[in-house]
């Protein structure tokens, strides 16, 4: 058998998996978004925007806010791991910060549900410490709960990438700035972070897309309206069997995710130029 044919044969199973399990369903659902009772049209999208504009904005705001907070937290963690001068504190942080990464989203939702509710552990602790009266206790099980869950779960992942990148930058560049009198904060902001900007961007974009697709957290923490697009898609399919609107919502999610990926592609092209 010719060598080229053999090569094709070897990649065929992988290609087939991608084609039949990924590309085909994607095209089908994209096409489905434009089908209303067998005919092509914008019906699903008008319905989607009528019903879910608020949820689209809610999703974008929550995920963007979470991304910003994850960025800040992971820079802080990576920065302390790189520049921290207390070896014991650095060792403890290094050991601690990764744990949430190994906890599934659904468990995170469950943990935070008991932690953040009106009678949850957080409020009870504050009340017992005398920092708050029981009357002031409010439930965090709304958008704030989702943001807390996302940041808690995704920060370790981004921090892991960022800390790795920070560890591999030339230490001399840090010491050169110290030699000229840069403070710890300036070292982090002006010397270290710019050198890991690309890794940070990649981590945040991957997080953004992950958060766009999480269903369990909004269902566990915030089952009211407005909620996130994933919950709406599940609701459309499970309760109404309405694949048209679900597909339209899915396509909107895809556009949102793709727009972030585009930012990344542009940045990486610029860096290579």
């Amino acid at each position: 058998m010719p060598k080229r044919l053999l090569g094709l044969l070897l990649v065929l199973p992988a290609l087939a998996v991608i084609a039949f399990l990924f590309i085909l369903p994607l095209i089908m659902s994209a096409v489905g978004a434009f089908q209303v009772e067998g005919a092509f049209g914008w019906g699903n999208f008008t319905k989607t925007f009528d019903l879910y504009t608020k949820d689209i904005i809610f999703t974008v705001v929550i995920v963007s806010l979470s991304t910003v907070l994850i960025g800040i937290a992971s820079i802080a963690i990576g920065g302390y791991l790189t520049l921290g001068e207390h070896p014991v504190a650095v060792a403890i942080l290094r050991w601690l910060y990764r744990w949430p990464m190994f906890i599934p989203f659904i468990v995170v939702g469950q943990i935070l549900r008991t932690f953040l509710s009106k009678n949850g552990m957080m409020n009870n602790t504050f009340i017992n410490l005398g920092l708050m009266t029981p009357l002031d206790a409010v439930s965090f099980l709304d958008w704030r709960g989702i943001v807390i869950a996302f940041v808690w779960k995704q920060t370790p992942f981004v921090a892991l990438l960022v800390a790795g990148a920070m560890a591999s930058i030339n230490r001399d560049t840090i010491e050169a700035a110290r030699n000229l009198g840069a403070s710890r904060l300036r070292l982090l902001v002006e010397i270290v972070v710019p050198q890991v900007a690309m890794t940070l961007t990649v981590g945040l974009i991957l997080s953004f897309i992950t958060m766009m697709s999480v269903l369990s957290v909004p269902l566990m923490i915030n089952a009211q309206s407005p909620t996130m697009l994933t919950a709406d898609i599940a609701f459309r399919v499970n309760s109404y069997g309405d694949y048209g609107v679900a597909n339209a919502l899915g396509l909107i999610s895809l556009v949102l995710a793709a727009s972030v990926a585009w930012i990344y592609l542009r940045a990486s092209l610029k860096e290579r130029a």
Binding site: T173, E175, A176, A177, R178, N179, I191, P194
Partner: protein, 377 residues
Amino acid sequence: MERDGFLELRGVASRYGATQVLTDIDLSIAKGEFVALLGSSGCGKTTLLRLLAGFISPSAGEVKVRHRDVTYLPPDKRGMALVFQSYALWPHMTVAQNIGYGLKLKGISRTEIATRVAAMQSLLGLDGLEARKPSALSGGQRQRVALGRALAIDPEILLLDEPLSNLDARIRLTVRHELRALQKRLGITAIHVTHDREEAMVMADRIVILNAGRIAQQGTPEEVYNRPASTFVAAFMGAENVLFLNGAPQGDQFAIAAGPANTACSVPLLGRPLAAGPVEARFRPEAARLFSTDDIAVIGPGITFGGEVAAVSYPGGHWRHVVKLGDHEIMADAERAFEPGARVAVFVPAEALFLFGSPEAASASPISRAPSEKVHA
């Protein structure tokens, strides 16, 4: 020159874990002096420089600048700027931003920074490159940006950590002179770490040779080259030929007894603390002179060895011979080539013959221990 007190190190020691990296370093550097810290890798020269810069604290001793104790001051409060071996330029900043960063940290106004950066650029021949990123510069340009970044803050002391070792051999030769000329012009005190003997000789006012964390010798290039204080310094400064002789001091002369390869002779003692008995003799290949045994002539005080040419090569400028003297081989240069197998006389002038007492000889070279092992065997 205020020889005492500009930059002083007193009993400085440094440990890294259980390893003693530096021991008992005493050094006094004058204002405007160019000092080279010379040593092979692992001798502690970079540690000493980082200790001066303030990146590490000594385990003992003190560092003073103008009689002010700076031992535990942070790096930026010492009036010193360091040029790194890797240059350590910030890849995300332009040339102008790199040079101006120290000024920015000092809170100097933007227009003032711009003028000073421009002045530094023209001083270093970096005009027109202000908007470039370091990745778009040549090695020599990067090195000058690193130098400009250090000089921009107007430091009293410039610390140079092998700044030339990443340059092409040809550029390195010109940069040596440029750097030295610049240092003289600015009147800045410079401490230059290098493992390159020639670089240290050409650039420095004073050479400090480090060996295993201690100062082996310090002095002008001429002193360390012509009057090495120990076998280590002699070997490090190129006197690789080593022979063992017997002799005894006689007045202001040292009388060398005839040996298997050499005739009896005597050389001026020049205050060297040599005792009667075995001595280690070292000399450079280029200091030796070769004669065929027929036309041997006494040219002056010195020692003459008899031997046989084992090999000859031409490294450029002169012929290098490997000469077998008894059971030792030495290298000797000559204007003309001698055929392998030819009987030759090797003459070493007294001033180029470095003699060291036997205790040091015994510890410095494994060859010298061979006879005693034979005795025990």
